[in-house]
Symmetry: C2
Subunit: 178 residues, 2 copies
């Protein structure tokens, strides 16, 4: 009746790793960056940006989380590239307005510039944050959450949302860092 | 870094009880009905049909699961009633086509016949199932999953879905059993 989800604790059947943004930043990413013990061994280390999303380990029907190193202008893999879209979303500490991290969305485009349904939410710690600039060190750990956007027919609202976040022209495979 | 979710195991932060329909039927409801040990003490017993959804214990922002006894024509509480909508959905055992349970959706209506955003998914074991008849014993345990349907503006698709499942005329508070 139990599923071995990590080395140090057995998670009963029916439980899944669905952290809030705040839990992910405070209890997993921040502790990873500072080399502290994690609550559970549930986020593997993987160079997500250099791996085709369809080749990522784990259940592709669920959101998959990975610790990956921040890279500059290296978002291309053999079959395509991740394109950053939208703006950074502040993640604030519960109970106050202190920014503890940021969340960025990316869409995977095939090499022939074809938008796919693969989405990544990249979570980063911030060393300083203002409306003008986000400072994040190169080579630092980030958490990447990769999943396939479900598109139902008819799904006018969903289609609108996807077109919104995938609207940037397909002219570059470079992720905007700030 | 741990949250006490039940008596027999500590669930690390970030994990939540999000069972599949099959997990809920096989590992929780079936074992409850047959008085077998459950994987985790995470589903409380409560007479959901006699309780106003806004008064249910737990985090109202998440899906809440309860073991409740099946009742006939007793879906009214002080502030309104649960109205069954749609048809039973078969839940089949993984790997074969054997029906192990059924899932039924209900909408909560206020006493003045006003449809609300409260939704219940009721999971039941079946003793026999055919396209003609579903046999479930009165007074047997069922699992009720209660949550508030999120309605975004604009949300044409979601609005369509809600209107579909809430379409029955508001003429009765009696849940269809078969």
């Amino acid at each position: 009746m139990e599923i071995q989800r990590n080395k140090d604790v057995k998670i009963p059947v029916g439980f899944r790793f669905y952290p809030t943004d705040e839990e992910l930043i405070i209890h997993y990413l921040k502790r990873k960056v500072y080399s502290l013990q994690l609550p559970a061994t549930v986020i593997p280390e993987l160079d997500v940006f250099q791996t085709n999303p369809s080749d990522l380990p784990g259940d592709s029907s669920e959101k998959r989380y990975f610790f990956s190193k921040r890279t500059m202008n290296l978002n291309k893999c053999s079959s395509g590239y991740w394109k950053s879209i939208g703006k950074y979303k502040k993640i604030v500490a519960p109970g106050n307005n202190q920014t503890i991290g940021v969340k960025k969305s990316l869409i995977f485009y095939k090499g022939n510039c074809t938008k796919t349904s693969w989405v990544m939410h990249q979570y980063s710690l911030v060393t300083s944050f203002s409306t003008q600039k986000i400072t994040m060190p190169e080579g630092e750990w980030v958490v990447c959450c990769v999943f396939r956007k479900k598109v139902k027919r008819p799904a006018m609202t969903l289609a609108k949302n996807i077109s919104k976040i995938a609207s940037p022209s397909c002219s570059s495979g470079i992720t905007e860092i700030s």
